[in-house]
């Protein structure tokens, strides 16, 4: 008691070094080093040794486009599937709840690679869809389940008091979800969705086994003809790294903007 009156120095307890703050210099510089290194190598290597490196850069660009197409189409579809699944998982309707839970259980238990093969080759006997569409369906089917869990966690993170308040104000269940819970949950949901987006972009490299001409496929085609395996995969890795570095920065900026309540 006496301490308070005599004005002993206040002890500050922070997060410590284990949880770096986004503004942290160390974090910034790691990202900058990676970005500058990647861009530097992507420019210097083709200049110094144009024979394989510049050729590779000329060979793969249409693959980058395909990778983006597959990623954006898959994530859009996965978001819709995820939202429905997430709502199904918290639904009081037993049928929808069971259906959504079953979907999540089944999809999470099967490796993405197997799912890709399954949807492309096994279902190809019955439904004829173009290769890219099959790849998108497979990716969205898999990531929809992951997204469903993200949505469920986000919705659950909103205090039940909000629902009670909303209901007591005369909103029905649908309105409560639409105008009360989801707008708030979105802030919790966005960062993991961003991570899933980047993870999905990287996982699209798997669709190269389905003969979809993405970055990796184009690289493999180049390597199989020129036998420059080391050079090709170096460039492929750098291109993926550049894309994910830029995207991760975009997502962390977006995250930062949305965190009104945690701003110091």
């Amino acid at each position: 008691m006496a301490d308070r009156d005599t004005g002993v120095e206040k002890i500050e307890i922070g997060d410590g070094a284990a949880i770096p703050v986004p503004e942290d210099r160390g974090l910034l510089s790691a990202w900058w080093i990676a970005l500058c290194g990647t861009i530097g190598l992507l420019i210097v290597l083709p200049l110094v040794k144009p024979d394989p490196y510049a050729d590779i850069l000329r060979f793969v660009p249409d693959g980058i486009l395909v990778t983006f197409e597959v990623t954006i189409a898959s994530i859009s579809l996965a978001l819709v599937v995820g939202l429905i699944t997430g709502l199904g998982r918290i639904s009081s309707n037993r049928f929808f709840n069971l259906l959504a839970s079953l979907y999540v259980e089944v999809v999470r238990g099967i490796p993405l690679l197997v799912q890709l093969f399954y949807i492309y080759f096994a279902l190809g006997r019955f439904v004829r869809v173009p290769d890219i569409v099959a790849a998108v369906i497979a990716m969205a089917f898999c990531y929809g389940a992951y997204m469903g869990e993200v949505f469920r966690a986000g919705i659950k993170s909103i205090d039940f008091g909000q629902t009670e308040a909303s209901l007591s104000l005369g909103f029905n269940h649908r309105q409560t979800m639409m105008y009360g819970i989801l707008p708030q949950a979105w802030r919790t949901i966005l960062p993991p969705v961003g991570n899933e987006f980047i993870a999905l972009l990287k996982d699209t490299s798997l669709v190269s086994i389905l003969a979809v001409s993405d970055i990796l496929r184009r690289g493999r085609e180049y390597a199989s003809e020129s036998f420059n395996y080391f050079e090709t995969y170096t460039m492929i890795a750098l291109i993926y790294l550049l894309i994910t570095l830029v995207l991760s920065r975009l997502i962390s900026t977006m995250e930062h903007r949305l965190s009104h309540y945690e701003r110091r």
């Binding site: 190809g124 290769d131 003969a211 001409s213 395996y229």
Partner: protein, 244 residues
Amino acid sequence: MFKSAAATVIALLVMYGAAWAETTIVFATDATWPPMEFVNARKQIVGYSIDYMKAAGREAGFRPVFKNTAWDGIFAGLASGKYDAICSSVSITEKRKKAMDFSEPYYTVRQALIVGRTSHARSLADLKGKKVGGQIGTTGYFAIKAAEGVIPKSYDEIGLAMEDLNVGRIDAVVCDDPVAANYALLKYKDTLKIASVIKTGQVEQYGIAVRKGNTGVLDLVNRGIRAVKAKGIDQELKKKWIGQ
């Protein structure tokens, strides 16, 4: 239980002891290329090329060991020394000769065009604007890429391309003629057919690929291939696996 285990160990030691007496050559093979090299129902790697190398080994005194390796990257593995040679229906081309050494040719091959049973296409020229599949990094795929106006599509395995042709995602497949015959005349005989043999203007032959400058292995393999040809064993193998 213990006794049988011990017996197995001793048996293995004796077997390996005998094998050590002669040189072992490790061949990489992409066993997805029936009837040249493939995995049979008993999970053994079998086929024309495999039997050919076994016969060559008996003649020249080496023990071939086959390692099932994915085609994409098979040449990279040879360069990095994961195996001594590639016995996987590798056509001898000028480009490949720059990266590796080849044995004497052991089989002459042509590129066949496979289409759906109802298709009227007779050559790659008839398939302008259509999708044609082949296995990545094969001479068949290079032929598709060289053809004007055709959309090339590369697959990891030829079987996947055949399946896509079977369900109608692509319009044709190009691959080596014995493999084409195996798929079009046996496996998918109700849905696919061989449209024609593609004229590339040059003779294409299979050879055993070895690392550049690895003359020890190359000489042994060449001696074996020569003996197999001299004794006419290759004709028997052709009858057995290809039926001609």
